[in-house]
């Protein structure tokens, strides 16, 4: 699903690489936590998977494709198979819940009939079927993140990347979001989630990859957030 082969990423005008000789393999259907302090390379990892950045050296394989050989015009096709969720939700404030989710399908040219069919389905998956006509500012943070997850999942991606999805939410709400991500994972989507939330990682008992200063320092199945807390 994802394969990093001795990947180094050095941003321009910086002395220290954001990722250095990182090697990692994530299998189809896994649920992986990416943990580590700020600046440890979690976001760079996710950006490399999305081909928003290219590695300075090493190779990145995603969904069976060598991203260094992927031509620019094929990037959209890759991203249609990857759902993405962020800490700040990134919803369009002037569109309703339904329209926000539909937007992701409209812009990849899906027909209206298809949109009318699948958007209510995915809103039911995230538990917002009765709030389809609300605007984002009428929703709680947890509900907004559910909309974002619905948008990421509506095209049934093989891979879901979540960049600190519970970072702006209170613990109770976070549990609900984690249950949703777990459900999506059980529907067959590989989930990679970066987080600072130790409680969640410890509760879920899934594979944990820890980054520190751009290095993979721990890779543990059924892991916890960290030893020293």
């Amino acid at each position: 699903m994802i394969l990093f082969d001795t990947v180094t990423k050095l941003y321009p005008n910086q002395n220290r690489p954001a990722l250095e000789d990182a090697s990692l393999e994530i299998e189809k259907g896994e649920f992986v936590f990416l943990v580590g302090p700020s600046g440890s390379g979690k976001s760079t990892f996710l950006r490399l998977v999305l081909r928003e950045e290219r590695p300075t050296s090493g190779k990145v394989w995603v969904l069976g494709k060598d991203l260094s050989r992927l031509s620019n015009w094929k990037i959209p096709t890759l991203r249609r198979e990857i759902g993405t969720v962020f800490q700040d939700f990134r919803l369009l404030p002037n569109k309703s819940v339904f329209e926000n989710v539909a937007f992701a399908l409209e812009v990849i040219g899906k027909p209206n009939a298809h949109i009318k069919k699948v958007v209510p389905e995915v809103l039911e998956v995230v538990g917002l079927e009765d709030k389809a006509q609300r605007r984002p500012d009428e929703l709680s943070g947890g509900e907004q993140q559910r909309v974002a997850i619905a948008r990421a999942f509506v095209n049934r991606p093989k891979l879901l990347l979540a960049d600190e999805p519970t970072g702006n939410l209170d613990p109770g709400t976070s549990v609900g979001i984690m249950k949703l991500l777990d459900r999506i994972n059980r529907l067959g989507t590989t989930v990679v989630m970066s987080t600072h939330d130790a409680q969640i990682v410890d509760q879920m008992r899934r594979r944990v990859v820890e980054l520190e200063n751009g290095h993979v320092v721990r890779d543990q199945s059924r892991g916890v957030y960290g030893y020293a807390r």
Binding site: L50, N72, P76, R79, R80, R90, L92, V107, N112
Partner: protein, 302 residues
């Protein structure tokens, strides 16, 4: 491609950015109007050249009694000199196409006709007007051959090429055309910069949407098309205004003002306007399209 989605995006974009849209429309309209005017002036010069070069002749004015140039030292031209000049002109065929002799009587009649409404007619004596050979050349640019063969010859006061007079006038029009063209080029540069900046602002104000589009895998075409169409629509409106300005220039300035006062010459017809109009629209849309495309490549990368 969902046409309705793209169309609504374009409409929203134009409305949200109304001041910039208006600025683009106006600059495109002004620069294209000037471009059109410059093309119209060129068409006018061509029309006039066709009209006049057909009619221009080289005039060989013969000495009259009152002539005081050195070649007329012997007084009025003699019959022998006149016959010799005519024979020499005949020998220049086929460069010389037509030869026409105008006597003093005929010259006076023509003079009276030309200045019918002017008091000058009464003050000019028939004998003050020279007799002349009017020569039509097969190729008007070969004037020098005639001039060098005849000027300064005894019995000839002056060799005159009407084309030289016309050329001064055409040079004036050419100068006006060049000025219009230079302003048009400068305005086009302004237009390109303005379109580029408008696109930059539009891309920035919609960065949230375009960011999401990139993430969910919208193709570049889908992301950029609304922006490109916005540029094309505002440029298209500007170009249509420019065509309107050109039609107005032809209908009012040429047909209503110039043509009635200068009836002796030909003016450009509507066919010239019809030829220029599509060019203006293409140039306008092309110009802003290229500017928008280059800007978007920078601000809307995948």
């Amino acid at each position: 491609m969902r046409a309705q989605f793209v169309a609504s995006e374009v409409g929203n974009g134009l409305r949200r950015n109304l001041t910039m849209t208006l600025a683009v429309i106006i600059t495109v309209a002004v620069s294209l109007t000037l471009f059109g005017v410059s093309l119209l002036v060129r068409a006018q010069v061509d029309t006039m050249k066709d009209f006049w070069y057909d009619k221009v002749e080289v005039s060989l004015f013969l000495c009259a009694k009152s002539s005081d140039t050195p070649s007329c030292a012997g007084g009025a031209v003699t019959a022998a000199q006149r016959d010799q000049i005519e024979a020499d002109l005949e020998s220049l065929r086929p460069l010389v196409q037509d030869i026409y002799y105008e006597s003093q009587t005929e010259a006076y009649a023509r003079f009276q006709e030309q200045f019918a409404n002017s008091p000058i007619v009464d003050s000019v004596n028939k004998n003050a007007l020279p007799e002349s050979f009017r020569v039509k050349l097969a190729d008007p640019t070969q004037y020098d051959v005639v001039a060098s063969a005849f000027s300064g010859r005894p019995g000839i006061e002056q060799v005159n090429d009407q084309r030289q007079v016309l050329d001064k006038f055409f040079r004036l029009l050419g100068g006006l055309q060049a000025i219009a063209l230079i302003i048009a080029v400068v305005m086009s540069i302004v237009t390109v910069l303005l379109v580029a900046n408008t696109m930059r602002v539009a891309a920035f104000s919609r960065r949230r949407e375009t960011g999401i589009m990139r993430l969910v895998g919208a193709s570049n075409l889908y992301i950029q098309l609304p922006f490109l169409l916005e540029a094309a629509v505002s440029a298209g409106i500007g170009a249509i205004l420019a065509v309107g300005g050109l039609i107005l220039a032809k209908a009012v300035v040429i047909d209503q003002i110039l043509a009635p006062s200068f009836q002796f010459t030909a003016f450009v017809g509507w066919d010239a306007v019809a030829g220029i109009a599509p060019m203006l629209i293409l140039v306008g849309i092309g110009l802003s399209g290229v500017a928008a495309f280059l800007t978007l490549r920078k601000y809307l990368r995948v």
